[in-house]
Symmetry: C2
Subunit: 393 residues, 2 copies
C-alpha cells in the first residue's frame, strides 16, 4: 500500500514485531534522521499523562531530534516512577545505538493504560529496529503504530523551496474521533526542509489546530496524544522561518499533511461508517462557533441518529442549546448539506424524505447558522454504531 513511498531525504524508518503484542504483530516503530533535525511537538493537555509524553516534553526543550522510537500495545501511562524509568531508558538505549544525546530521542507509547513496559523486549526491539532502518520501510512503520486502527495512515506532500525539492511524509494512528479503545492519537511528520525550530514549533501548533484539533472526540481525551514534527534540512534550502519567501508554501504543505492524516483518523473511527462535517457560522465568536459545533459532533443522540439515517434536527437544536455558545432559538437555521431542515428555529417546509436522502449518504454536512455574529468553526466527526459498543466492551 505504502511500499512505493519514500521518506524525505536523510530519514529512515522501520516497523517490527518486538513481542509486546501477540506473536508476529508489529508493535515497534522507528523514525531516524541521519542529520540532527529541528523538532517540534504538541501534546495531550490531560492532567494524567503518560511517561513518554513527560519525556518528550522535557526533550523538546533541547529542540533537536535524531529519532522517534515508539511501541504499541502498552501505553506506559499511570505507571509511576517505574514507567518514567522505562521511558527514559527507552530513549537512552536508542541514543546509545545511534550515537547521540538521549535528549535527541523522542519516545511514544500507545495501548493499554496501567501495565509496565516489558523493557527487555523494548531494548531488544530497538537494536532490531536500527538494523532494519538501514532500509526505509514506510508500510511497516505505519503498521507498527496501529492499535484498533483498521488501516495504516500515511500522507505525503512534495513541494519546492527556493528551487530545491522538498518532501513531507506524515504518519498517524488513531481509531477515530470517538476516542480509540487504546486511547491515543499519535502522529509523526518528517521533512527534509531546513526549518528554524521556533518557526517549526509555531507552524506545527497552527497546523494541529486546523486538523487534529478539528476532529471530534467524545471528551475521552487521551493520556498519550502526541504530534511530533522533524525537519532535518537535507534538502539544503536556507532554513525557513515566517519571514522566508516560501514560508507560505511550506506551511500549506505541512497543514495539508496534518489535515489528510486527521481525516484518515475520522474515516477509520471505531465502528463508524459515516463521515459528518459539522459547520457552524454566524456565531457570536469563533469560540462560540466551536462550542456549538463540538456539542453537536459529540452528542451521542446525534451520532446514533446519523447511524440510523434519521434526520432528527431536534437533537441538533437541543445540543446547540445546551452548549455554552450563545444561541437565540428563533434565529437558528440548519441545513443537511444544502437542504434546509430548520428555518428560524422551527421546521422548514422540507419533506422528511429529502432529509433522509441526505443523512443516508456516507458523507454529508450539517450546516448551522446562528445568525448572531461572524464566528465560524468546523468539526469533522463520524457516526456511532452498535459496533462501537462491541469494540469497547
Amino acid at each position: 500500500m505504502f511500499s512505493e513511498i519514500h521518506m524525505p531525504k536523510g530519514f529512515k524508518c522501520a516497523g517490527i514485531s518486538a513481542g509486546i503484542k501477540a506473536s508476529g504483530i508489529k508493535d515497534m516503530a522507528f523514525i531516524f534522521s541521519e542529520l540532527p533535525a529541528a523538532a517540534a511537538g504538541v501534546f495531550t493537555t490531560n492532567q494524567v499523562c503518560a511517561a513518554p509524553v513527560k519525556v518528550c516534553r522535557a526533550h523538546l526543550q533541547h529542540g533537536v531530534a535524531r529519532a522517534i522510537v515508539m511501541n504499541s500495545g502498552i501505553a506506559n501511562a499511570c505507571t509511576g516512577s517505574a514507567g518514567m524509568v522505562a521511558a527514559t531508558d527507552m530513549a537512552a538505549e536508542t541514543a546509545k545505538v545511534i550515537g547521540c544525546e538521549p535528549q535527541e530521542i523522542f519516545v511514544c507509547s500507545t495501548g493499554k493504560i496501567g501495565p509496565q513496559l516489558p523493557l527487555e523486549k523494548i531494548i531488544a526491539g530497538i537494536g532490531k529496529l536500527f538494523d532494519v532502518a538501514l532500509i526505509e520501510n514506510v508500510q511497516d512503520t505505519a503498521e507498527a503504530m496501529m492499535t484498533t486502527d483498521t488501516r495504516p495512515k500515511v500522507a505525503v506532500e512534495e513541494l519546492h523551496i527556493e528551487g530545491k525539492s522538498v518532501r513531507i511524509v506524515g504518519f498517524a494512528k488513531g481509531a477515530g474521533m470517538i476516542e480509540p479503545n487504546m486511547a491515543t492519537m499519535l502522529s509523526y511528520i518528517t521533512t527534509d526542509a531546513a526549518v528554524e525550530q521556533h518557526a517549526l514549533q509555531a507552524a506545527l501548533k497552527r497546523a494541529v489546530d486546523s486538523s487534529f484539533n478539528r476532529i471530534s472526540i467524545d471528551g475521552d481525551q487521551s493520556t498519550n496524544d502526541t504530534v511530533l514534527a522533524l525537519a532535518n534540512g537535507a534538502a539544503e534550502n536556507r532554513p525557513l522561518d515566517e519571514s522566508s519567501h516560501d514560508w507560505g508554501v511550506f506551511f500549506q504543505a505541512l497543514e495539508k499533511v496534518c489535515f489528510e492524516l486527521a481525516m484518515m483518523i475520522v474515516h477509520d473511527g471505531e465502528g463508524a461508517d459515516k463521515f459528518v462535517t459539522v459547520n457552524v457560522t454566524g456565531a457570536a465568536s469563533a469560540e462560540d462557533a466551536e462550542l456549538a459545533a463540538r456539542a453537536v459532533a459529540n452528542s451521542m443522540l446525534n451520532k446514533t441518529a446519523w447511524a440510523g439515517c434519521y434526520p432528527d434536527w431536534g437533537r441538533i437544536m437541543d445540543a446547540i442549546g445546551y452548549s455554552k455558545a450563545r444561541v437565540i432559538e428563533e434565529q437558528v437555521d440548519i441545513f443537511y448539506d444544502d437542504t434546509q431542515a430548520v428555518a428560524g428555529g422551527c421546521l422548514s417546509g422540507v419533506a422528511q424524505e429529502d432529509l433522509i436522502k441526505v443523512v443516508s449518504q456516507t458523507d454529508f454536512a450539517i450546516n448551522i447558522n446562528l445568525h448572531i455574529g461572524d464566528g465560524e468553526a468546523v468539526v469533522y466527526t463520524c457516526n456511532c454504531t452498535e459496533e462501537y459498543v462491541r469494540i469497547n466492551f
Copy 2:
C-alpha cells in the same frame, strides 16, 4: 402496580389516550388539586427550551397551581409562535374546564422535537381527563407520562406534621441518565401539606440538586426538563416554612421522594442493565469533585467498559485527568466497591479477577479519592450497551 396508591388529600389524577400516540396508548395526564396549591418549579437550563417550559416559567410567577396537564408523544419544542399559542391554549382550556385562572395551570409536553401539537386532540383530551379525574388513577397517570420508559415511576412518603398525617406522592418519567430518545425528564410532586410558596420553591431546588441533578446525563440536556411541586394544604397543618418545627421532617420526605424517582430513572436507563454509583472524595472543592465524577459517569469508554464487565481503571484515570477538576496523578486512589484498583495513580497489587467480580455485578460503586482536599460528590449512572444505540437509531 400503583393501583393501591392514593393521592394526597384534595388531589385527583388521571391518564388517558387522546390519540396523539398510536391508537389506545395513553398520552395525556392530569393532576388536579381541589384547593389552590402553593407551586414550585425547576426547569431545564437549555437555551433552546420548549413552549410549555416557557409557559410554566411565566405561570410560576403567580405561585399558585390548580392543575398540571401534560402530553407525551410530541415535545412542543422548536415550534415557534404556533407552539406558544398551543401551550397557552392548553393552559387556558384547562383553566376553563376547572374554573380557575390560566396562570394556575402548568403545562408540560414530552416527545418528538419539531412537530406542532394536535391542538384539537389535546383540547378533547382535557375534557376527557377532567371527567376521568373525578376518580384518582395513579397508575394511568404515570403510564401516560411514559415515552421510552419501560415502566411507570411513582414514589410515596407518609409523615406527620404537627400531628396531622401528610402524604407526598411523586411521579416521574425519563428513560435514563443517558438522555432519553424523547429527550425529557419530567417529575411532579404532590402533597397535602400546607407549605409557604417561597419555602416550597427553595426546598424543591435543594431536593432536585441532591436527586435529579445527581443522575448522570450524557450532556444531551433536554429542552423540556421540568420538576413541579404542588402543596395544597388539605392536611390542615399550619403552613410550613424553614422556621417550622417539622420543617426538617417535611424536607427529608420531599427529598426522599425526589431521590427515589431519580433512582428509578437511572434504573430504567435506555438499554442499560447496570447501576453504577461514582463517588469522588478528597477533591479540592465540592465543585471539583462533581466535575471529576461527571467526567467518569459520562465517559462512553467507561460506560461501555462496564457493559463488558471490563475493569478498565485506566479509562477512569483518563477521564478524571481531562476533567476540569484539579488532579495530581500520583495521589489518586480508585476502588471498585471496596476493592482497590489504583494506589497512588498506579495499579494496586489487586488480581484482575477480583476487579472483574465487582464490575460483573448489576450494581456497584466506583470510589475515587483525589487526596487533595475535602470536596465530595456522588453521581448515579448506568452502563451503555448496544441496545442504547439500537433505541436511538
